[in-house]
Symmetry: C2
Subunit: 432 residues, 2 copies
């Protein structure tokens, strides 16, 4: 009575993943741990084979791609050791599956339990970095999900050899067939995103253009964020030294990432004292500075910002600065122009900080700390799956918990609803 | 610097809801409680006005609609008192907003807190029952969400008067303008479902056709389920008396609902002893019985089931019965043909029950209990928002927690990422 496998190649991949995920649900923690250890050992044992395949990608890439992208592609002995150690660290995490989140006596002998369980099938679409393959495979195995990889063509030989080695080690350890699959071709993405009956979650890992195109066409929920338009607000009661250091860190330390700031807001009463040293420091660091009309009149070094600038993710050494009349205007600005990713306040006033945290509708709010801390590793999640601006389920930096959902289990002894038409028959006594 | 309100009428409704939701986030629990009390009092005070408007809907409906639908429309003094009492019971629930779910020291002086917060804007699209208005308004106010109602035209006068009374009581108590809005017209649904930049979640409450049409066109996440194809599996080691009582309850007690069973599976070795009394009982209760070829040959009263029957939600006194070779086949059947809603096993074998609960990929699994218990009130959630077969975020019967998500707050004292390039600088010490 099982459905036959579909004839379309990508639908078959998706249907196989679904079938495999139903087997993965029952794999005990001990077997998952053994297979992750076997995968780590296999990576170390096949180092030469991995480097040889990686060299093929590099040879093609060196002619076609800018040096920064070639650098992301390149593997070496140290990176392979890192991948193996990463698999071992996932293996040592507590079992995320089967955790009792809630236990409630509904009536004598009738017990409701909410238990964590895998999502099912995860599709990951990524660019460049082949180290995504062991990292995500480790998280998916540990969380009993089956996974479909679609990597970039620039890394196709590296992805393939890593996948082959890890998959073989997994199946030999007892994981079910197709627990992980690799789709190579370009048309795979659009095809896979249609199969919401088989795939539970799509995770894009790459530039804005990739993420946005996936969000636009996917019928499947997407975990991610298209934009990282982050702001820092300097309140009138900020410590000027903190403000200077935090703006510098949030803009200059690594401007190409989503949690760097694009907008700086400052209270009108703080402009004269606090802004000149900040502007001098940023200009010194090569930051191009834009400002609203009020600031452009005060600081000749600032270029005028257009309306579009307040909603632009520069990913570069560029910063737009606006004056605000106080916390209300700052919050309104952020909720109107930001992307709900990460926003910061610098203030010595605890009450103001609390109000900012309450009313800014973003997945992370920083109080006297750099927006750059918004990151799965820094939040103590071990490996990061992504940073989500979705509000449904996962939000902010997401670790393995983003691959886990729950089911309810009701244990009775022949309990029938017909005996519970009187609401008083329920006890609803919390057990855990 | 705020965006101006859009000129399109429905986009304006959605944008107003978003603006209002940002105000709702900061409404303290005491004000929310007061406004729910004021709403309850207003319903009691305006009973005659409500009944008069309801009579207008009834007069139109009695000519046009079947008696069962007219019954759902009808309000009386007792139902109005129930609505008021419902608002008071929501008011007494613990505050779902601002709960600390996690607290972690990232490094000395750098504290990460995960705090529950509202989703933002909820759109609810419902048919008939005007009591949805006070119920959902209560849950949304208590969870600091703003809400857009779109009711059926058959209840338009009742919905309007309830909305007007409740909205006025809310605003007079201090809730922000547009904390709840009512859209009347038919074209509102398709229009609203496009505004994913303003609306965070859509909740359809109505028949399958309504839910499915919304799921097909919405760009916004939908909390709900299109199908309720539930199965009960009688294992060889079932107690025959339990099996008989549970099948009866799950099929006959209220067949028109999503958590009634459509399929019955039975182990081959149990057919001879356990099935005849079950078939007799169901036939006695007027249930039309379909079976697979094996059963049709054994029981002349059974009609042959087609392939479509195994995936059909009858919502009626009809049941399809299939023989299985054991638990593996039963689980495969349910995962292939079911809708991931609620499935049950009847067995005295605890190990088998555990395996069934682990491997059936449904939001609720029943062990020796009726599928009909799958319900928000019965699960102790107070008011039910819906039953979700989504795996992202909310699953199964969903109460107010389905309207809540979390944000991260990081409190530092000028902490910069530049000082944390060595991973060892993090302590990641769990505080709660």
């Amino acid at each position: 009575m099982d459905a036959a496998l579909p004839s379309n190649a990508y639908e078959r991949v998706a249907a196989q993943a679904r079938a495999s995920s139903l087997g993965m649900q029952a794999i005990p923690h001990s077997l998952r741990s053994r297979s992750l250890e076997a995968m780590a050992a296999a990576l170390r044992a096949h180092q030469d084979r991995i480097l040889a395949e990686n060299a093929r990608d590099l040879a093609e890439a060196e002619a076609a791609l800018p040096p920064s992208l070639v650098k992301r592609l390149r593997l070496d002995a140290a990176k392979i050791e890192q991948m193996a150690a990463g698999l071992e660290s996932v293996q040592s995490l507590p079992d995320p599956v089967g955790c009792i989140q809630e236990k409630l006596e509904l009536a004598p002998g009738l017990i409701l339990t909410r238990v964590s369980c895998p999502l099912g099938v995860i599709a990951i679409i990524f660019e460049s970095r082949p180290d995504v393959v062991p990292q995500i495979m480790g998280l998916c195995v540990q969380s009993c999900n089956s996974v479909i990889f679609k990597g970039g063509t620039e890394a196709k030989h590296s992805n393939r050899v890593l996948y082959d080695i890890l998959y073989q080690a997994g199946v030999e350890s007892g994981l079910p067939e197709n627990f992980a699959q690799l789709a190579d071709s370009r048309e795979a993405v659009a095809a896979l995103l249609q199969y919401d009956q088989y795939i539970d979650l799509v995770i894009p890992r790459g530039g804005n253009a990739l993420v946005r195109s996936i969000m636009d066409i996917s019928r499947i929920p997407v975990l991610g964020h298209a934009d990282g338009i982050c702001s820092m607000y300097i309140h009138a009661e900020a410590d000027p030294r903190l403000a200077l250091a935090l703006v510098h860190d949030a803009k200059v330390q690594y401007p190409a990432v989503c949690n760097a700031i694009e907008n700086l807001l400052i209270d009108r009463s703080a402009v004269k004292d606090m802004l000149p040293p900040i502007i001098a420091d940023l200009a010194n660091s090569g930051v191009r500075l834009l400002g609203d009309s009020e600031l452009v009149a005060l600081f000749p070094g600032l270029e005028p910002a257009s309306e579009e600038d307040w909603e632009c993710e520069y990913n570069d050494l560029i910063l737009s600065i606006a004056v605000v009349g106080g916390i209300d205007e700052a919050i309104r600005f952020i909720n109107a122009h930001g992307s709900g990713h990460t926003d910061a306040i610098v203030t010595a006033n605890e009450e103001t900080a609390g109000e900012f945290a309450l009313r800014v509708d973003s997945s992370s709010v920083m109080i006297n700390a750099s927006t750059r801390f918004s990151d799965g590793f820094r939040y103590g999640k071990g490996a990061e799956i992504g940073i989500s601006t979705n509000k449904i389920h996962a939000r902010g930096p997401v670790g393995m918990e983003g691959l886990i959902i729950y089911k309810y289990i009701v244990q009775g002894a022949g309990h029938c609803v017909a005996d519970f038409t009187d609401a008083k028959a329920f006890t609803h006594r919390r057990l855990i």
